[in-house]
């Protein structure tokens, strides 16, 4: 009998531990960070450092989580969705060429049809034997690079040994209508197909695999970010960010304080969303879904779509 009494708290403990591990989580609004005079379009992280492209003011800024500008790099021509990475690519400072062999910030310059590469204060340009027309987004993953080539309605992708191009203007699966952002993952390439109002997924040969968000009434799907478990797609005109599972079903719709969002990224357990027009960063945090269930009726984030 005594042994049995010992067992009861142990069993309860195990059950409660298991419940905690399986407790579903969701993104909850945390705060708005005002950015002084910055209209952010793209966001990228270098460790915990936050970099924003300020398209309206032709610059890149590094900010902290209080919105303070720590430093600014000027004289870009409409910098767009940026990314950090390290790829052995041929670059030029317009006088000589060299091979990039260190981590750098890749900046698509929409107005200059070029990809600028910044490390420390040195600026080079990526050498591409193909002409871009308004590059709007870039992703760097190991030695791979993908560029969303806005007016050419295509993705230009370097697979580590050669450049390939895929996509054409259109509305069918695999077509684009002004792609604005792109992200390479271990197996795939995800694209924000802005004015087709959807996200698209391709393999690394450029073969179409899937599309998502088609039925969610997007109005300009401008920014995309793919984490280990989720895909985030910004809905610019409708002031929303939709969170999809890896099965492409909608898990959550975020609205609180989101206004003309252009990009999104995950920093630890925080989701950072750029509000372009208002010049803000909106921060959401992962929290237990059960806690929020009590106030479901009051919270606009609780439009969960478990399709």
């Amino acid at each position: 009998m005594k042994k049995f009494l010992y067992l009861i708290p142990i069993v309860i403990g195990i059950i409660s531990c298991e419940e905690k591990e399986t407790m579903p989580q969701e993104w909850q609004f945390e705060k708005v960070v005002e950015l002084d005079g910055v209209n952010p379009i793209g966001v990228a992280l270098d460790g915990n450092d936050i970099f924003l492209s300020d398209g309206d003011h032709n610059r890149i800024v590094k900010v902290d989580l209080d919105g303070e500008i720590l430093f600014s790099m000027e004289n870009f021509e409409r910098p767009m969705h940026i990314d950090f990475g390290e790829a052995d690519m041929e670059i030029t400072d317009k006088i000589s060429t060299s091979i990039l062999k260190e981590r750098a910030l890749f900046i698509p310059e929409y107005g200059r049809d070029s990809i600028a590469i910044m490390r420390d204060n040195k600026r080079d340009y990526l050498i591409i034997n193909d002409s871009l027309d308004a590059p709007a987004g870039i992703s760097v993953y190991d030695n791979e690079i993908a560029i969303a080539d806005f007016y050419n309605n295509r993705i230009l992708y370097y697979n580590g040994s050669e450049w390939i191009s895929f996509g054409k203007e259109g509305k069918a699966a695999g077509d684009f209508y002004y792609p604005t952002d792109v992200q390479i993952t271990v197996d795939n390439i995800f694209v924000a197909d802005a004015y087709n109002n959807r996200g698209q997924v391709f393999d690394k040969t450029g073969r179409f695999l899937a599309q998502f968000g088609k039925d969610e009434n997007f109005n300009a799907a401008t920014g995309i970010y793919v984490s280990d478990n989720e895909i985030f797609l910004t809905d610019f005109e409708n002031n929303r960010v939709l969170v999809f599972g890896k099965d492409y079903t909608v898990k959550q719709i975020l609205k609180t304080n989101i206004d003309k969002p252009t990009d999104v990224i995950v920093l630890d357990q925080q989701l950072l969303i750029t509000n372009y027009r208002k010049g803000e960063l909106v921060i959401f945090k992962l929290g237990d879904k059960l806690i929020k269930e009590k106030s479901k009726s009051e919270d606009p984030e609780h439009e969960n779509h478990n399709h």
Binding site: N39, I41, G55, D56, R78, Y110, G111, A134, A136, F150, Y151, Y177, Y178, T180, A194, Y195, N219, A220, T222, F236, E237, K260, T262, Y276, R277
Partner: protein, 210 residues
């Protein structure tokens, strides 16, 4: 003595630079256009970029926040106000006040004299107009406001409803529908032609109904 020569050289250099600059400005007309509806950065930057590609154009600059759009163009080509306004429209912007400062110092604007509208003749009307963004809003409202006898025009992005106050003896609802269709926006009764719709900026490509 050496210092004097050095200073004289600098002054001469500055004088020559200023003269060359003045000469350049003398050869070029300066254009300033106030444009509406730059809500979508991808389209606004794109239109700026496309404008830069016009032969002979220089100093293209657009302040996204204020909508102040400026450029210079060779005076010898005598670019007219109508051509500028048309070109700005063709590029997708909605032009408001435009000012040309000619190389010879003459100033031209497109400011119109406002014709007084008799309040007693005004009717409130509503009309569904297809569109989808802030740039559509600017275009639709400007198109309708420019019609004779229209006192006010407001278009709602979410519902697509255009609300206007107008003197029906000067502009009918049918005329409003025709005008917005000519600007690229369908109504329930009048459809825009394919080429005009296609020429709208990407963000303005609303879903058309058959």
């Amino acid at each position: 003595m050496k210092n004097t020569i050095f200073i004289a050289t600098i002054i001469f250099g500055l004088f020559a630079f200023a003269k060359a600059d003045a000469q350049t400005k003398k050869d070029r007309d300066q254009f300033e256009v106030q444009v509406d509806g730059l809500g979508c950065p991808f389209c606004a930057y794109g239109l700026e970029k496309k404008f830069k590609e016009f032969k002979g154009i220089k100093d293209v600059k657009i302040e996204i926040e204020t909508g102040d759009f400026s450029f210079s163009y060779p005076a010898s080509k005598n670019l007219t106000m109508d051509a500028v306004v048309e070109q700005v429209k063709k590029a997708g912007y909605t032009p408001n006040l435009a000012t040309i400062t000619r190389a010879n110092g003459a100033v031209e604007t497109n400011a119109k004299e406002t014709v007084a509208i008799k309040q007693g003749n005004l009717t409130n009307s509503e009309l569904y107009v297809n569109g989808k963004c802030g740039m559509c809003k600017a275009r639709i409202e400007k198109t309708v406001s420019d019609l004779p006898g229209v006192a006010s025009a407001t278009w709602d992005v979410k519902t697509g409803m255009l609300t206007l106050e107008h003197d029906t003896s000067l502009t009918t609802k049918k005329a409003v529908a025709n005008a917005v269709a000519n600007a690229g926006h369908d109504t329930k009764t009048v459809k825009s032609d394919g080429a005009t719709y296609d020429a709208l900026p990407a963000c303005c490509h609303y879903k058309r109904t058959k």
